[in-house]
Symmetry: C3
Subunit: 423 residues, 3 copies
Amino acid sequence: MYDLITELYPICRSMTGKGVRQTLEIVGRGMPLRTCEVPSGTRVFDWTVPKEWNIRDAYIRDPKGKKIVDLAQSNLHVVGYSVPVRRVMKLAELKQHLFTLPKRPDWIPYRTSYFKEDWGFCMSHSQLTGLDEGDYEVCIDSSLEDGRMNYGELLLEGESSDEVLISTHICHPSLCNDNLSGIAVAAQLAHLLQPLRLRYSYRFLFIPATLGSITWLSLNQEGTEKIKHGLVLAGVGDSGKTTYKKSRRGDAAIDKAACYVLGASGEDYGVLDFVPYGYDERQYCSPAFNLPVGVLARTPHGQYPQYHTSADDLSFVQAPFLANSLLKCLSILNVLENNAVCVNQNPWCEPQLGRRGIFRSFSERARNPDFEMALLWVLNYSDGHYSLLDIAERSGLAFEAIRLAADVLIEQQLLEERPAGKP
Amino acid sequence: MYDLITELYPICRSMTGKGVRQTLEIVGRGMPLRTCEVPSGTRVFDWTVPKEWNIRDAYIRDPKGKKIVDLAQSNLHVVGYSVPVRRVMKLAELKQHLFTLPKRPDWIPYRTSYFKEDWGFCMSHSQLTGLDEGDYEVCIDSSLEDGRMNYGELLLEGESSDEVLISTHICHPSLCNDNLSGIAVAAQLAHLLQPLRLRYSYRFLFIPATLGSITWLSLNQEGTEKIKHGLVLAGVGDSGKTTYKKSRRGDAAIDKAACYVLGASGEDYGVLDFVPYGYDERQYCSPAFNLPVGVLARTPHGQYPQYHTSADDLSFVQAPFLANSLLKCLSILNVLENNAVCVNQNPWCEPQLGRRGIFRSFSERARNPDFEMALLWVLNYSDGHYSLLDIAERSGLAFEAIRLAADVLIEQQLLEERPAGKP
Amino acid sequence: MYDLITELYPICRSMTGKGVRQTLEIVGRGMPLRTCEVPSGTRVFDWTVPKEWNIRDAYIRDPKGKKIVDLAQSNLHVVGYSVPVRRVMKLAELKQHLFTLPKRPDWIPYRTSYFKEDWGFCMSHSQLTGLDEGDYEVCIDSSLEDGRMNYGELLLEGESSDEVLISTHICHPSLCNDNLSGIAVAAQLAHLLQPLRLRYSYRFLFIPATLGSITWLSLNQEGTEKIKHGLVLAGVGDSGKTTYKKSRRGDAAIDKAACYVLGASGEDYGVLDFVPYGYDERQYCSPAFNLPVGVLARTPHGQYPQYHTSADDLSFVQAPFLANSLLKCLSILNVLENNAVCVNQNPWCEPQLGRRGIFRSFSERARNPDFEMALLWVLNYSDGHYSLLDIAERSGLAFEAIRLAADVLIEQQLLEERPAGKP
């Protein structure tokens, strides 16, 4: 995952353009990722797909002719969606198009101007304060023309047509945590799930933030009914504790599963209620969709100073944090895959487990001291009302122990698993 | 408000009689307050309107002929509803009719004998202990005859026939906090609301405690269905923190609005669950009515030593506390007036607020840093289920910010306000 | 109760056999306790009633011919349901049948082998470590033959056929807290309730643990519908605080009543949620029955070191703790007997209590300072929704005060008690 981030880091991405296509090509290696395209001007709900933006070169030369800002040095130097410029101007005029972070004088901020035709440069504040009066040559060799917006889509078909949505945004240029980390974890997840026989189908979306999800929802309005659970992955590579932001529903199965997994991890973690700002969950959880989609992140966006600056670089994300986030995702999906509502087939008093040899033969196999307890919990609470996850929560036993107990009881015909539906 | 209290303080009020009429006359200045009357003997539910009581003079002369107790000195000296007496008696006999507060030897208690024909005097304990043996001349020049019970009623008609009830008791003689403060705040509220165009109609009741509300409810049983919210005002002039006592329902809109306003005030405050003793809420919240009526007070009744004594005087209430209580009432009414359930007209993903120029033009007008957040909250939660007050509570933003955002969105036809009903 | 424990202590009980019958005979003195019997081999749900086990003698002689272990010394020495043995064997072979508590070297553990034909001895660990090599003579003079399983059943008929179940297990040999204490408290409860005219019928079960309740439920499946409340009594004689374990329902009337009584006791206490292990509540609360049966205990089973060892002896239980547990039971039953949903017959405002003379005449009789408050609480909340117990909880007043107020109001025809049903 860290290698993929390293490879994607230099590419100049934006909401549209070649950088996005190049990114999707790299991400899609070894998996049947489909690159979708939507023409500029397409109406998607209240929005319109914008023109395609591409940039070849951009620089500022100081009065002495020295390149003081150069796109080749950092993709962040140019405000995203800047219109072409090739002029000489006084410092005073130029300054109206320069953006810095006075409080972090060595960092370059990240800026875009998607919906207002404008241009600008981002630079360190220490550089700005050192500029002399005089004539500056400004060049932005960009194009903003009718074209297309691209996104990547991958469907891994499972036993059921019910889907789990994994969504991550791909429109940010050289920023590692936000959101090359999300791209890397989502891609690795797809690689790992691809060969498995799974209960759910898994839909991965690699999309430009906001307009990407709006576009996908607009084009796939009916398909949203199949989405039973979903996760937006963003900012999953920094050293902060894992944070789960609940879906708007607040008590969806994904919310329960994620809270359970974080709580059982033994690590510090955070759980946030839904708020209507953040990433693409804003759209998935807009009132007419209200999909059961939460967000897995580490330090919440905007709560670390490196956020949307050049300091969100290759040193800010680390392989162990990526791995930890990946494991959290797998654990959550494991709960979703294996959760079920079971029904005790012998609900009048306890069955005689001893004569079935369950205790002996299986407890060793399981090497699980909680195994007998788990059997009793599953038998008593499998009345068609409590799911295995509910039983794990109520008993304080591990979900895996509860699931193993259920499997053994099903084998013994003491338990029946209800056809899936919504667990 | 403090001036009104000063003017009303010397008047000798009781459940019935001239003092009540005189009080209503003063309170009703400059507003269309109707003085209602109910004849003695009228059945009101389980009760009967008592005879009218009036008093002209009352005193005790000691063996030396000196007036040691005199109604002219304090209205509290005579037990309310004392029957006429004009006799000479020994101290021992007299003592059976004297009431004092041994623990507060300088204060005069407040006593009534509404439902048992009796007579008595209240005095300071230090005076009682100084009395010599001998013959005392006792005079109570009162009348207890068929007459009427009076109360004041004022209806300010709003756009809707749905009503907000403001009720306050007027039967106590020279006691300032209990309840001249309630009378003053209610009267001022009426003055302030009178010129406004309001959504709700406002019904003000200035009534004798207990029997007044029982009588009004008995005479207006059908009218109670129009009461959507209500406040009993009592003890709103002392220095204690504001205390709201919930309606019997516990989750009525008035309860939510009052708790929200107190919580958002930044001041210390108290919230009490309903208990079936206190003021006229006992009747409004009796099980067959169960009206959504709470109580706004400062220190709860009975929890300050001055309660029902001569120490509840003009120094015990202060203008700033009266003003603070008035503001709390206005804030609560403001929430009730402006609360609404709205419906997002563009619920599929977020609308594109940028191209509508909302952010720029309004954010300056609003000078509200939370304005953009408020727009997102209102859009996401206006699904017909959450009221604007619910959204304010959930978001932690001020109700005013949420309402402003809703107004802007309504102007932009992105939101529709549901016809009132019960918010 | 302590005397009964002393008398029952020496008897060698097990799941079946003479010890059980002898125990039931002693317990049943002075009450119409019926000793029921079920033949070996009877199918009871998933189980089969086992053979009857009786034991006459059991000992081990060391190489010098000295009896080192003797059933006559302690019933715990023989593993329950041991098959007959009469052999000489080496220490190594014998050791495979010896059970001790290494951490408590002076105590003898309690062991059974109900469902696997086996034999064994329990002894102190200090004795085990002192054994020399050599030939040991082992004798278990037991019989394991078709016979019967016994249990005791007593029905005290009340006004209603609705039942309260009191269940306690009787299968443990010389162990005092677990569960001679439960037997003693249940028996004393039966003695005390027998002469009373009660609303509920009371069914007492003195049964072998697990298989006893399974058998009773199997034979009385339809009768279980009459059980409206139930208590399992076990471990009620030790010095620990009283602990109530809730029924599986968690909010049954018995749960509310027990929690209320423990909370109002002024003593330290514990309340546990239902878990599917413990005593016979496992069966009563199995999902198909889900009966409202909780457990009253002191220190929870397994949480004191003496549990299932020879240290659970006559010094471990004490008369005052037994008496305290008995009083808790009586208080809980008192709440169940007297709880009711009442309906205010005069729900429009408060009735005029003064003219009915209630305050005076009854308050002295009641000597209850909360009496007037209780009247107001009962009147306001008796809307057909709240039970008297609910009102006691909400008001913070004693259940007895609330019940007394209700009785007075019923006498005055201001209140009507609803025909029982489920309170």
